[in-house]
């Protein structure tokens, strides 16, 4: 690609492993700050479990609020890893190289964070064990296979395990580099983790196959996970606003939109934090911006279908839900904010090349997308419940308590903290991927112009 500098392997190792051996003060300050927030969130969750769910804003009929919104949001962010890593690997896009591991790692930690949400939401989290797992805890009572809430753990567990395996397999060559650059106890640990990797053609060939094969296998899992999470909503017939056949692909495409936006934000952040200007360049965020345009348009199509068919049914409770979302403050303000920040502003800006190549504007637009997408989940869940019919004694409203807000803020801090702690132990940008990019890079001369080219293996 045009802007890349040719770097020596020694320089690449030094740049990308720098933080592991010696972190900057900036890094430690940020880690410390995030740790404090996370501890605060743990305290809030502990308080909630100790006192009971009445400390939240949840009440009949709105039994799902901030925490479930947050659960769906983080499941959404977790889709970024597979989207970028798997699809770009399969399509052999060169610009994926600095983004893949950061995206995969973001997937793992956002999944882990997402999983904590429904667990603490139960109020008595220890009970989740026998609700979700097929073990005879209670003398012959087994989880209900027909429940969407039981499909969730199977899907999320599969995705989490697969993502961890995916990251680990691709990490082995870099663990060998760390082994060779370390001494003492660190060297011993990396030696065990790298499992004796030497870099023979056989090992590299199987690495390449692993990348393709695991990508191809994880892709169907990634589609199924958020579809199954959407089934938590769409299977119900009492909440008409949720009972829509479009929910599965709608949630998946929304997840991809918020996930890829999240990866862009994180990539620009780590570029700043670790001084990786040579590795995360304007051409990468330009390419991601173009991808986001396509994803945003697809998302809007599914949103339009979901919205239009909500009104198509002409059912009283569903129309009441839409009315609440669009015309009753403060929900109407939230709705306006959601649609403007999730779609219109970012898409409008991404159409301009200068915006896509600007680190500042891409940070702003991708943060806006995630603000909007968080609100989107909130506006699906709460107004739907607030206006559902059938066994509802009241049409109540909902406001989050300080406990819920603290927990939600804590989850954002937790994901970022875990991400940064990962960066302290493992490289966030795959070293061999960057080096391979240099090997495969070349130029073609056409007339007076030199066009960048890539060697393709047939």
């Amino acid at each position: 690609m045009q802007e890349a500098k040719v770097l020596s392997y020694r320089q690449i190792n030094k740049d990308l492993l720098g933080n592991i051996f010696k972190s900057s003060n900036r890094y430690w300050l940020i880690v410390g700050f995030l740790t404090i927030i996370v501890l605060g969130a743990f305290a809030a969750a502990g308080y909630m479990i100790n006192r009971g769910l009445w400390v939240t804003g949840l009440n009949r009929p709105i039994f799902w609020g901030f925490m479930i919104t947050n659960f769906v949001f983080w499941i959404g962010i977790s889709h970024a890893g597979v989207m970028l890593s798997a699809i770009l690997r399969l399509s052999k896009a060169e610009w994926r190289r600095p983004a893949t591991r950061a995206a995969e790692v973001l997937t793992i930690f956002s999944l882990m964070t997402a999983v904590t949400m429904p667990i603490i939401h139960t109020g008595r989290p220890w009970r989740t064990l026998y609700w979700a797992f097929p073990f005879d805890f209670q003398r012959g009572i087994w989880p209900d296979v027909r429940s969407a809430l039981v499909w969730d753990p199977s899907a999320i567990n599969t995705y989490l395990t697969s993502s961890i395996m995916f990251v680990f397999v691709a990490l082995i060559p870099d663990l060998a580099v760390l082994r060779d650059r370390s001494t003492g106890l660190r060297r011993m640990i990396y030696t065990v983790l790298s499992m004796g990797w030497r870099g023979s053609p056989r090992q590299w060939k199987l690495q390449a196959i692993a990348g393709i094969l695991l990508s191809a296998l994880i892709l169907p899992v990634f589609v199924s996970v958020h579809s199954i999470v959407s089934f938590d909503f769409s299977m119900t017939i009492s909440v008409k606003a949720w009972h829509s056949t479009i929910f599965a692909p709608y949630f998946v495409i929304g997840a991809v939109l918020s996930g890829v936006s999240g990866v862009v934000t994180v990539m620009i952040f780590i570029r700043w934090l670790f001084n990786w200007e040579d590795y995360i360049r304007r051409e990468h965020i330009d390419a991601l911006g173009r991808l986001l345009i396509v994803i945003a348009l697809a998302w809007f199509y599914f949103f339009a279908l979901e919205f239009m068919f909500g009104i198509y049914g002409q059912e009283g409770d569903e129309l009441a839900t839409r009315h609440m979302q669009m015309f009753e403050p403060p929900w109407s303000w939230l709705f306006l904010t959601f649609i403007i920040t999730a779609f219109f502003i970012p898409l409008g800006l991404w159409l301009f090349r200068d915006v896509r190549r600007s680190f500042l504007w891409m940070t702003i637009t991708t943060l806006l997308v995630n603000v909007g997408m968080w609100l989107e989940r909130f506006l699906i869940i709460v107004p739907g419940l607030a206006r559902k019919q059938g066994f509802t004694g009241t049409w109540h409203t909902y406001a989050p308590s300080a406990v819920e807000i603290t927990i939600i803020v804590g989850t954002f801090a937790m994901v970022l903290l875990l991400f940064l702690l990962f960066a302290k132990v493992f490289p966030l940008i795959p070293l061999f991927d960057i080096k391979e990019g240099q090997v495969l890079k070349d130029e073609i001369k056409i007339g007076r112009r030199r066009v960048p080219a890539v060697i393709r293996e047939d």
Binding site: S244, T245, A248, Y312, Q438, D442, D458
Partner: protein
């Protein structure tokens, strides 16, 4: 310290004559050969081709005759049930042939090189849009008024709904497709007009207009293709969604299915790629263009086809699961009508041919994907599956007695096609193929300018001890 290559970078390229191999294993092509081969194929008009055109025209004519006889009995809401199979075949043609230009647009956007031989094959299906438009008119006539039933147009007082929104939407789509084809063909018309004589050379010359290939023209050409492509894509998705809602869902009381329009659009894209691959196979085998279609074209397309088969299954499952789970009476009736009882046979054929056979039987296996016959065979199944999907959707919808009922109470019996329906189906399909084959004699079936552009960006290079294809990224 680390040097990567021991050979000098690239070669100087003269714009007119440059040789390069299409791939490491492919055959050698150059600019002059491409122009000569494609022009020769363009001007050839063999006896077999003429015979095929005549036969198709005859079948098309028979279909029209049957249509006219049937239309004489009435063309309104009361006779809607007579046009059920016309609606199904129309939906099949507008989905498959309508989405074909989108294949060219989308693949061009991804900037890969293997798409070049199939670009024009895909774009040429825009001419079939004329037939779609013709078939659409009687179907619009038989659509019942929207008052008293659910509709996407909010109320029965929505101005112009549904007829005019549908008609002008499809008209716009057809015009956009033809415009895309026209702009794409400009440079090739210039090339071919200079290499032949007679009416078609003159036609090409006239349509080439003032095209001379200046840098400004090429820039404009690229911009127009991109903008028209985006416009076509948006209009297409809109049209397929509207057609599905107005001609299927709105006619079935109580059926609220947000994914159905998207499912039809996806089926269109899947069947369009299948159609393009089958056409590419035929052009390769019978058109003498073997070296223009290396295995890589079919192999790379097969991966996309595989993904589309899985997506098809996914969309179907999302709809099925949502309806199956809740046990609501109207949803259970709809499942029984469109899948498990009345139209069970078409549904079985649909699911086997759109997903199970192409995916599990063929495309999942690497040796099958990495061949010319494998993806082509899978494509044949997919087209059959898409047709039966339209049958199981449109036929029962057009046979609903009372479209203003609150919900579907009973499972209606299946309606099998009679002789007239068969002639209409065969006539419509023949008409589509006839139009395409005729158009291929007025517009070169291989995009000369795109093939030549590909030569600019591909080289075979030796890296140490082996040879690899090097692909340029102009950005």
């Amino acid at each position: 310290m680390h040097s990567t290559h021991s050979l000098p970078i690239g070669d100087d390229v003269h714009t007119k004559d440059y040789k390069v191999q299409l791939s490491v294993h492919g055959e050698e092509l150059d600019s002059k050969t491409i122009i000569e081969d494609v022009s020769r194929g363009f001007f050839a008009f063999g006896a077999f081709y003429k015979l095929a055109l005549l036969a198709l025209a005859a079948l098309f004519a028979v279909g029209i005759v049957v249509f006219v006889i049937r239309a004489a009995d009435g063309l309104g809401d009361a006779s809607r049930h007579q046009w059920d199979y016309l609606a199904a075949v129309f939906a099949f043609i507008v989905s498959a042939a309508g989405c074909a230009p989108l294949i060219a647009v989308a693949l061009r956007m991804t900037r890969n090189h293997w798409r070049r031989p199939i670009s024009r094959i895909a774009e040429l299906y825009a001419v079939v849009g004329l037939l779609s438009l013709l078939m659409f008119i009687p179907l619009l006539r038989v659509l019942p008024p929207i008052d008293g039933r659910r509709t996407l147009w909010f109320t029965d007082e929505f101005p112009g709904a549904p007829v005019w929104w549908n008609f002008f939407g499809l008209l716009g789509l057809v015009i956009a497709g033809l415009a895309l084809l026209f702009v794409s063909a400009l440079p090739d018309w210039l090339q071919t007009s200079r290499r032949g004589q007679g009416f078609r050379a003159g036609f090409a010359g006239v349509f080439a207009g003032r095209w001379t290939g200046t840098e400004a023209q090429w820039k404009l050409h690229r911009a127009v293709l991109a903008i028209m492509g985006a416009f076509y894509f948006l209009l297409l998705i809109y049209m397929l969604s509207i057609i599905n809602t107005d001609f299927v869902m709105s006619l079935v009381p109580g059926w609220k299915d947000a994914i159905m329009p998207a499912h039809q659009a996806l089926t269109g894209i899947q069947s369009a790629l299948a159609l393009v691959l089958i056409t590419a196979f035929l052009v390769r085998t019978f058109g003498g263009y073997k070296k223009y279609f290396p295995m890589e074209v079919f192999w790379s397309s097969s991966k996309i086809l595989m993904a589309l088969c899985l997506l098809w299954a996914y969309f179907w499952f999302a709809a099925f699961m949502t309806f199956w789970y809740g046990r609501m009476p109207v949803e259970q009736t709809i499942l029984k009508t469109f899948m498990f009882e009345s139209y069970f046979i078409p549904f079985l054929i649909n699911i086997f041919c759109s997903w199970l056979i192409p995916f599990f039987g063929l495309l999942m296996w690497n040796p099958v994907r990495k061949s010319v016959w494998g993806p082509t065979l899978a494509s044949c199944f997919i087209l059959v599956g898409a047709f039966f999907m339209m049958v199981r959707l449109y036929v029962p919808a057009f046979n609903i007695e009372d479209v203003t009922a609150f919900s579907l109470e009973t499972v209606p019996a299946a309606v099998t096609p009679n002789a007239g329906d068969i002639f209409i189906i065969i006539g419509a399909l023949s008409g589509a193929v006839f139009l395409y084959m005729l158009a291929a004699k007025f517009i070169p079936i291989i995009s000369i300018w795109e093939m030549k552009e590909g030569l600019l960006y591909q080289r075979v290079r030796t890296l140490f001890r082996s040879r690899f294809l090097m692909v340029g990224k102009p950005d």
